[in-house]
Subunit: 312 residues, 2 copies
Amino acid sequence: MTLHDGKIRARPDDTYPTRVEDRERWLERLEPVLWSEWSSDAPISREQAGCYERDGYLVMKDIFSAAEIEALVQSSAKLRTAGSTLPVEDVVTEPGAQEVRTIFRLDEHSEAFRRLAHDRRLAGVAQFLLGDGVYVHQSRLNYKPGLTGKEFYWHSDFETWHAEDGMPRMRAVSASLLLTDNGPLNGPLMLIPGSHRTYISCRGTTPDENHKSSLKQQEVGVPSDESLARLAQTNGIDYASGKAGTLIFFDCNTIHGSNGNITPFPRSNVFFVFNAVSNALEQPFAARKPRPSFLARRGAPEPILPVPGALA
Amino acid sequence: MTLHDGKIRARPDDTYPTRVEDRERWLERLEPVLWSEWSSDAPISREQAGCYERDGYLVMKDIFSAAEIEALVQSSAKLRTAGSTLPVEDVVTEPGAQEVRTIFRLDEHSEAFRRLAHDRRLAGVAQFLLGDGVYVHQSRLNYKPGLTGKEFYWHSDFETWHAEDGMPRMRAVSASLLLTDNGPLNGPLMLIPGSHRTYISCRGTTPDENHKSSLKQQEVGVPSDESLARLAQTNGIDYASGKAGTLIFFDCNTIHGSNGNITPFPRSNVFFVFNAVSNALEQPFAARKPRPSFLARRGAPEPILPVPGALA
């Protein structure tokens, strides 16, 4: 919140202060990771639920048919071609080129991807993990060409969502569906297992309009070199690879990043962040103004009713 | 070679013209890859010799003892600390910092690394692969910290050595010994198997003093996007990983590169290029002046007499 002297001050009720001190701190996570008791009705196995709770992420393979994935790949190609007909703020093109790299609010621009977000294999799993009704906090289609793909540095999404969007608690999960094969060499999603148990309260202050640069390169809200080295040495680094159709769930506080990609093999995925309806956004905890709604849906969205069965 | 109009012209006797046309061309390799007939006296197995010939590289594990590698790691740490006492041109430090990143002419600055270069497991294998006496064309110690390691783009070493150093034929091999563990995520050496069979004659002209920028980022003498995509789609991409002590031999014309490294795990290796004594350097084939001798030893060096047994 902002005081009359223009400085951003921590809210006294903030359980996860960040970007307010002149030093970094490690705080303990206060919420559960898995919010439901597992039962045989659950949309994932007991073992999968255990992995997610322990590691902070879960990689699921072979849960979509080849036909379903092929149809999604075609939908994504059409959307990228139609990029210029979409609202300007929802589309990121490569500097100097017209090639579409990212389309935000994906579930509002495509019936196929809206249906995907509502699928029991996504929204149903998210609802189980979070033990609550869920809505889409952010969604996007990412396309990164080969040869020139840049890295994305380590961060916890929750740190940003808390600081800049006003998400109060750790009760959100991201689902990333690969639309291309992803191996270790073409910049896969890397994750630090167990990092979701610790909240790294970061040094620094959020600049105004931070999202305009942080979408390209995040400089505020990243853990220090020492913290990353300590986490990685203690916990190791894992990566999510698999064929197109591989689905990755990861907790909002799991530290992740990706290396650049000089291979000619592009990377594409769709990305949905599910938030618990009981965790609706408030005012930002460490920024002057909330980020725009293409990055963080505000208000009190209706919970999704997960849809069973194959995609149309 | 240079004519009176200042342009760099192809030599009429040049079997591997490059950087002279306004288009890229794929030419066939004219020399063998493996220059010796395998026999039971050879320093590598028949299978290893076959792999090297087929793929253009060979990864060898567990050929040094833990004590040998530990001693080399210690020697490298000492050398990096003593960086400021070495000739300025042989040492590359990080911009803005004094941390040593590269030490050239490694075999001239360190008795331990000179002994390593002469070891039967390096010089002896190189002599076998090239079917000739060998000498060290270039040597260096590389140290890349984690978190910020930048990528190195795809290239064939021979293309540069031919164009800028005047190496006439493909009769050289690089040996890279890992001094840190290297996995798929911390920017390992990536290679395109079979790419050594084709010479990609590159577009463009060599700028004067090209090595001053090309050591950081190579812009001339790199294959086109289309060539890289075609090679990678046909042949795939492999990478050389392993524990400290892993030794990689790769042919001078094998296309290779490495991704950046945002993991906190540093990468360090020592690198020796062995050239056949019959393949001594001439005038550059596509540059005005030869590169300095810390990058390419000139003259008629004596062939190495490979030393058997453990490192001291």
